[in-house]
């Protein structure tokens, strides 16, 4: 009997010593851990709600320049309260060297967003990520932007870019402060867009060789859907939550001087963008 007791004790000891239990979170994004910038105090009175319009387009799409033109008009009307991201995705965005469109504007992020919003025909746009399968046609853009309640800001995003021109490394730092309570999980996505890309575009039946493409989506710094803030996505009002991500701009045909970081704070569950902010790379 004694032997059995000794055996069981040894057994139990091995069991407990033999296994480590680790509690999450296991991984910490390094950039977030070593935040090298300090954000200025937030002046709540200067914060206003901005609206995000994600335009799906393509260089081989005859009606798309109409969308581009509409966006210009809207920009004149709303100024910096409207942030546009041009997403080249789908068959009409695919390179077609034979017909004079050799350039590939498409991105992994753009392809996934096209799927996420079930875009079938272009031009089409999604406003503030409000779920609308297929997106809105050009004629509805203005009314849908006006439908967004901009009476008070819901959140503030402070954005600081650190860019090293030698290495091409860009680090985007953001501090998010929730101004109105929100019970859903919140994500922050950093996208990179570029203006002034001169490439051919089809307009009606006309081939325009030196067409200027603006606010073209180039990449995401933290995946298509961004990152949950505060690890679990739940934020308290009035508290600053920081997030930083990196991207290497070298090795691409991107012009850093024309690039802008777009930070999108959104609620994927309800389909709503709480705030969007931009900052030039340099």
């Amino acid at each position: 009997m004694k032997k059995i007791f000794v055996f069981i004790t040894v057994l139990a000891a091995t069991f407990f010593a033999g296994c480590d239990r680790i509690e999450g979170p296991y991984l910490v994004p390094s950039e977030n851990e070593q935040l090298t910038v300090t954000f200025p105090d937030l002046d709540v009175s200067s914060v206003y709600r901005k609206v995000l319009i994600e335009e799906f387009t393509g260089h081989h799409c005859s009606n798309c320049p109409g969308g581009h033109q509409k966006l210009e008009e809207l920009h004149e009307r709303f100024g910096d309260t409207l942030v546009a991201v041009g997403i080249h995705a789908g068959a009409l965005a695919a390179p077609n060297a034979a017909e004079g469109y050799p350039y590939d504007f498409r991105t992994e992020v753009g392809n996934e967003l096209k799927q996420e919003f079930a875009i079938d025909g272009i031009p089409a746009a999604i406003i503030n990520r409000y779920p609308e399968p297929g997106g809105w046609g050009i004629a509805r853009w203005l009314s849908k932007i006006n439908a967004v309640d901009r009476s008070k800001p819901l959140a503030a995003i402070q954005l600081i870019n650190e860019y090293n021109a030698q290495t091409g490394m860009l680090k985007a730092n953001a501090q998010v402060t929730l101004l109105e309570p929100c019970s859903n999980q919140l994500r922050l996505a950093f996208y990179l867009i570029e203006d002034g890309i001169v490439k051919p575009q089809l307009n009606g039946t006309e081939y325009i060789e030196n067409y200027v493409h603006n606010h073209v989506l180039r990449a995401s710094l933290n995946g298509t859907y961004g990152t949950l803030l505060n690890t679990n996505g739940y934020l308290e009002t009035g508290k600053g939550y920081t997030l930083a991500h990196k991207i290497n701009l070298s090795g691409h045909d991107w012009n850093p001087a024309n690039c802008t970081v777009v930070a999108i704070l959104y609620d994927r569950t309800a389909g709503d963008v709480l705030q969007v902010e931009t900052m030039k790379v340099m």
Binding site: G24, S30, A219, Y225, K246
Partner: protein, 570 residues
């Protein structure tokens, strides 16, 4: 260290001398193996020029035994090993296996290197396969106790062998406990009733010091340059697995089952996830004279269990072994399409039926006809990434994924439908004919693109010319449009029993889509066997491919040359 490793040799030497003179009951035995090759470069088949043209593997085993005491060692000389061993870094020389063992009715104690297995090997399997260059022996101690009839307890502690590395400075070790109860042996009534019933349980734990954080690239495949870090204190140093098993038999029926679970074990093979791993192995067999039916099921998910978390070389530092339950073939043409066990993601079934048409019947003939049917199918496991993994764009440093236990994953890994008929016409003539339809996932199992779907027909005809002389003709045809295309193979073997063998064979890739790669791989071999000594010579070409033994595979580079192999035991 060298001196230390020679110690067992000296011990053994002293012991043997002592034993020879003092004790009548002692015995020394051993075996020796040499496998050498002269390499000729051949750019067409991809046989590269090697820096040392003459290469060889050699080893010597010595074993001393006297009553309940035994001791042994192996000296290996792999300084200029065959190129496929060089590729897996099995290179060096010295004694990496030695042991002393004492055994009586109640206890067995082993010190030194040992091989062992708990249950079906889901938690622990230390074994060697010399052809594959696998030696997972543990250096340490083992105790086996039989306190009561039918009760078997085992405890092991050891450091796992890593090729020819000295064990110095190792910061990892394995410990384990295993218990098995055999009710048939414990209670005579159970046995008298014709039942056998065993239950068992095992617990294994590995320790590996964690002193370096793990860096992870987030959003891999996108342009993001964001990285993440798993801090040292978030890396488990002790990783445990446990398993329970049972087997039950009554007359010709037998049921076996084992379930194992592995605790948090972020490692390089599972992308550093913190999900628990699990495995289930079930096997049911039924047999009576002339009929055998065997069905088995396996599921393994995140069960790659090794002593070092950064080790990913195919054959190294495994603590456990997830069995590949599919039928193993020795057909030349499908050797490259053998299923390799996927410890991190596989779910599959296997069914085999053997039937013998009775002797002295119309269909069975004078000697009976053997029929074998086989079916196996393996998929990967169902894996749905957790939200955080979707966020990070990588599984690393998260719970990884969730998995529905019995659900087959989206990718077919391997399928085999086979039929074999074996018939002896007369005392002189015997014929085996086999057909297999194989589906093999090249992308998941070899990293090439696509699937290989192929029909294999194999024939093996034997003619015993006289009692001493015999001829054997093997013909195989693999018909496929995938991978390297169709192949044909022929081999004629002439044997003069029991001492001489000569064979000549050719393998021809006639269906390769690239006409320049429609190559012949000829081979001439001869062997001389004298009691337990075998000397074999061969000359020819080997295609680049995969060598699999029992579901464990490793890559074999293309080669061309002449080989000599000698094995003997004494």
């Amino acid at each position: 260290m060298k001196k230390l490793l020679l110690l067992p040799v000296l011990c053994l030497l002293a012991l043997s001398t002592f034993a020879q003179h003092q004790l009548g009951n002692s015995r020394i035995s051993g075996d020796f193996g040499f496998n050498g090759m002269y390499y000729i470069p051949d750019s067409l088949i991809g046989a590269e020029k090697v820096d040392s043209k003459v290469r060889a593997n050699a080893f010597l085993n010595l074993l001393y035994s006297n009553g309940g005491f035994s001791a042994g060692m192996r000296y290996e000389f792999y300084m200029f090993p065959l190129i496929d061993f060089e590729k897996i870094n099995y290179k060096g020389q010295g004694v990496r296996y030695f042991f002393a063992d004492y055994k009586n009715k109640f206890i067995q104690v082993t010190a030194g290197n040992f091989y062992d297995q708990f249950g079906n090997g889901l938690t622990l399997r230390a074994y060697e396969d010399r052809q594959l260059g696998i030696d997972n022996s543990l250096l340490g101690a083992r105790v086996k106790v039989t306190p009561y009839k039918g009760v078997y307890l085992k405890g092991v502690w050891g450091v796992e062998r890593l090729n020819f590395d000295s064990y110095i400075g190792r910061q990892d070790y394995v410990r384990g406990l295993d218990a098995e109860l055999s009710f048939g042996e414990m209670f005579e009534k159970v046995q008298e009733a014709g039942f056998t019933a065993n239950v068992g349980a095992s617990f294994v734990s590995k320790f590996e010091k964690a002193d370096e954080e793990i860096n992870v690239s987030l959003y891999p495949g996108t342009d993001s340059a964001t990285t993440g870090v798993i801090a040292v204190d978030k890396i488990p140093q002790n990783v445990a697995t446990w398993a329970t098993r049972m087997s039950f038999g009554y007359k010709g029926f037998r049921l076996d089952g084992e379930y194992a679970q592995k605790m948090q074990d972020p490692n390089v093979t599972n992308d550093f996830i913190y999900k628990k791993g699990d495995a289930l192995f079930l096997s049911a067999t039924y047999s009576m004279k002339g009929l055998g039916v065997a069905a088995s099921f396996i599921r393994a998910d995140n069960m790659d269990y090794r002593t070092q978390r950064m080790q990913k070389t195919n054959s190294l530092l495994y603590i456990n072994n997830i069995p590949a339950i599919n039928r193993q073939y020795s057909y030349q043409l499908i050797s490259n399409y053998s299923f390799a066990s996927q410890p991190n993601s596989q779910i599959g079934v296997q069914l085999q039926v053997n039937y013998q048409i009775p002797k002295k019947t119309k269909l069975g003939g004078k000697y009976g006809t053997d029929l074998t049917f086989n079916f196996s199918r393996f998929h990967n496991t169902d894996q749905q990434p957790v939200a955080l993994a979707v966020d990070y764009g990588t599984l690393s440093g998260t719970e990884g994924y969730t998995s529905s236990f019995f659900k087959f994953g989206p990718d077919l890994l391997y399928q085999d439908i086979g039929f074999e008929i074996s018939h002896r016409f007369t005392k002189q003539w015997k014929w085996i004919l086999a057909y297999n339809y194989i589906t093999y996932n090249l992308e998941k199992l070899q990293g090439h693109e696509g699937m290989m779907r192929g029909h294999l027909v194999a024939s093996d005809l034997q003619w015993k010319v006289t009692t001493k002389h015999s001829l054997r003709l093997e013909l195989q045809h693999l018909y496929t449009k995938d991978d390297k295309g169709s192949w044909i193979y022929g081999m004629l073997e002439y044997a003069i029993s029991p001492k001489w063998f000569i064979s000549i064979g050719d393998q021809y890739n006639y269906g390769n889509t690239n006409p320049e790669m429609r190559l012949h791989y000829f081979n001439i071999a001869g062997a001389f066997v004298w009691n337990t000594t075998r000397i074999a010579l061969n000359f020819g070409k080997t295609q680049e491919g995969i060598l699999c033994i029992g579901g464990v595979c490793r890559a074999v580079p293309a080669s061309y040359g002449a080989g000599l192999s000698v094995t003997t035991s004494f």
